[in-house]
């Protein structure tokens, strides 16, 4: 087994042991981290692995949130069905949106993903009758078989772990290699007979699927959903998580989510200027460690290892 696999398994065991501490704070924090970590890792399938900077991923997260919330509260469907539907709806939206977006490159791609996600937000915000508009939807209870925070924690752990295994299989498969080739040089990839747009679209759909799954998990964890979950600052925040942890490593975005959410929770008890702190950290990372936290650590280890 590769070193990365050992790290993954060790990480899973450590996280699985967290409820043993009995700390409600850590159970809450790590449920949050796992959910946003999955969201960031699925965004990184596009950014780090395919070279497409989406600035509208809040759309899929938000669609996941609202699919789950609406199917449970308005349609009275069981949690299992509602949760399964989140991925389907997220992927379906990604098919439609991605179809247009992959035709564009770079800054235009980012702008179009932003525009589509703002449409999703505007619809959620304005369609009072269905989504409750600005007030959102409240009262999304834990399902019967997951009726405590600890049980839900393990459910999230299970879903996120399975999703990460699937995503890792994807990036390490021949399909994933082609995505990396597209990232490094789209023109040349096109010349060797690969349908670049199709591969980009498939990556887009997979990313939308898992982002929506993260959204579904979050809706139930939070017991309520709001239009803000589809708004562009969420897209920016998940981009920051990705970059903070490191976009050149599979688990980087997960680490980034952990760092950001932990620091936010800690800092808000000391100061109201969390955005200032986040902006400063982001600047430091951008200027001194573009590979993010994981990239920085790997760099140190590799350098130390080679100097010995």
């Amino acid at each position: 087994m590769s070193k990365e696999n050992w790290v993954f398994i060790a990480g899973l065991i450590l996280i699985a042991a967290i409820p043993l501490t009995g700390s409600r704070f850590y159970i809450f924090l790590f449920t949050d981290i796992m959910i946003f970590g999955l969201f960031a890792v699925s965004l990184n399938l596009l950014i780090g692995y395919t070279g497409l900077v989406s600035f509208g991923h809040a759309a899929y997260f938000g669609i996941g949130c609202y699919t789950c919330a609406l199917l449970i509260t308005k349609a009275n469907l069981p949690f299992a069905i509602a949760f399964a539907a989140t991925g389907v709806f997220g992927a379906a939206a990604a098919v439609i949106i991605g179809f247009f977006c992959v035709r564009l490159t770079k800054i235009y791609f980012a702008m179009l993903t932003l525009a589509f996600s703002q449409i999703v937000w505007a619809i959620v915000f304005k369609w009072n009758a269905l989504t409750g508009g600005d007030t959102g939807i409240y009262g999304i209870d834990f399902p019967k078989f997951l009726d405590s925070k600890i049980k839900y924690f393990y459910f999230v752990l299970f879903i996120v772990a399975v999703s990460l295994v699937v995503l890792r299989k994807i990036v390490n498969s021949p399909f994933g290699r082609i995505l990396a080739t597209i990232r490094d040089n789209p023109e040349r990839t096109e010349f060797i007979g690969i349908n670049v747009k199709l591969f980009q679209l498939i990556a887009f759909i997979i990313s939308g699927f898992f982002s929506a799954i993260a959204g579904g998990l979050f809706a139930v964890f939070n017991h309520s959903v709001f239009p803000d979950f589809c708004h562009w600052p969420i897209s920016a925040e998940v981009l920051i998580m990705t970059l903070l942890g490191g976009m050149y490593n599979f688990f980087g975005p997960m680490v980034g989510a952990g760092a950001l959410l932990y620091l936010r929770l800690e800092s808000t008890s000391y100061t109201e200027y969390w955005p200032f702190i986040l902006g400063t950290i982001l600047c430091l990372i951008l200027f001194f460690a573009p590979g993010g936290i994981v990239g920085f650590i790997q760099d140190k280890i590799v350098r130390r290892g080679s100097s010995k």
Binding site: I47, V53, F55, F100, R103, L104, K106, I107, Y108, A110, M111, L112, L114, A115, F116, Q118, I119, A122, I123, K126, W232, P233, A236, L239, I240, L243, Y273, P275, F276, L278, G279, T280, L282, C283, L286, F287, P290
Partner: protein, 298 residues
């Protein structure tokens, strides 16, 4: 309640839309010129606009005894923000030109977070306001409806600034260099032009325009935290519709967005915001370089 009422109301709505369009134009034109030359999508542009408004409030309080306090503020506030913009470009942004777009984009977003809290730290969270200059107080009657004098001033000022800028870009040495840099900065550098300095100047001009928008909007809005992120997406929409880097494109883009907002509210109150994004998407799908822009070679 006949047609007459509806028509005059329509005219007023249209004039309101025009006023808003001129504000958005000022802000978006700065964004557009920065994108055209530096190829950077500047999220912090909304923050510079917000700082422009706060600084205007600050200057008005400093010159409270002067009858010309508003005009002094409109003169000084944008200049101070432009200096800040130049400082940011020289010391920080400069180092990121060789990096990929994502890094630059996130840096400007980091600025949004930092400058937003900076303003909150200095001016607090309360809503601030600036009163209109004496000469522009009151309203005129148009088709039996009151319309503020200040808005009329803005409707005339917008095109004046647009023409002035267009003329400067067309006729002056700096204008020619900026247009050349937007086309091909490598060749311009090879011709012996100091492109580094040009970038700083362009960023200063862009920051000045953003802050001027903030200064001029301050008498008709409340100055408050959050006005930075509210404006930035609208500025993006305008720039995308008109064409990133295209000056007149930005002007038309602002007119389209301004009038859709004000008239859309009459026809489909709920859908006008969606309608704007639909226009943006249609433009990006059919003409990614915008109505009056030109395709990027890269």
């Amino acid at each position: 309640m006949g047609i007459g009422f509806d028509a005059s109301f329509l005219v007023i709505q249209l004039l309101n839309g025009l006023t808003n369009a001129m504000f958005i134009f000022l802000i978006a034109s700065g964004l557009s010129i920065i994108f055209g030359v530096l190829r950077i999508l500047n999220f912090a542009h909304g923050s510079l606009y917000m700082l422009g408004a706060y600084m205007t409030h600050q200057c008005v309080s400093v010159f409270i005894n002067s009858p010309y306090r508003f005009w002094l503020a409109v003169l000084i506030a944008p200049l101070s923000v432009a200096l800040l913009g130049g400082l940011i470009e020289r010391t920080l942004l400069r180092r990121l030109y060789r990096h990929e777009e994502l890094i630059q984009l996130l840096f400007t977003y980091a600025l949004v977070l930092i400058l937003g809290d900076f303003a909150r730290f200095i001016w607090g969270v309360d809503q601030l306001s600036v009163s209109r200059p004496q000469i522009l107080k009151g309203a005129v009657i148009i088709f039996g409806q009151y319309f503020p004098k200040y808005n009329i001033f803005i409707i005339f000022l917008g095109p004046c600034i647009a023409f002035l800028f267009w003329f400067l870009m067309l006729r002056t040495r700096w204008g020619r260099m900026i247009r050349a840099a937007a086309l091909d900065r490598e060749t311009l550098g090879a011709l012996g032009i100091n492109v580094d300095r040009l970038f700083t100047v362009v960023f200063i001009i862009g920051s000045w325009l953003a802050a001027l928008g903030g200064a001029l909007v301050s008498p008709v809005t409340t100055i408050r935290p959050g006005m930075d992120v509210e404006i930035i997406i609208n500025a993006f929409i305008v720039v995308v519709i008109g064409g990133m880097g295209s000056f007149w494109g930005t002007f038309w883009g602002a007119l389209i967005v301004g009038s859709v907002y004000s008239l859309g509210i009459l026809v489909f109150p709920r859908l006008s915001i969606i309608f704007i994004y639909v226009i943006m998407i249609l433009i990006l799908i059919t003409r990614p370089w915008g109505l009056l822009g030109r395709p990027l070679e890269r």
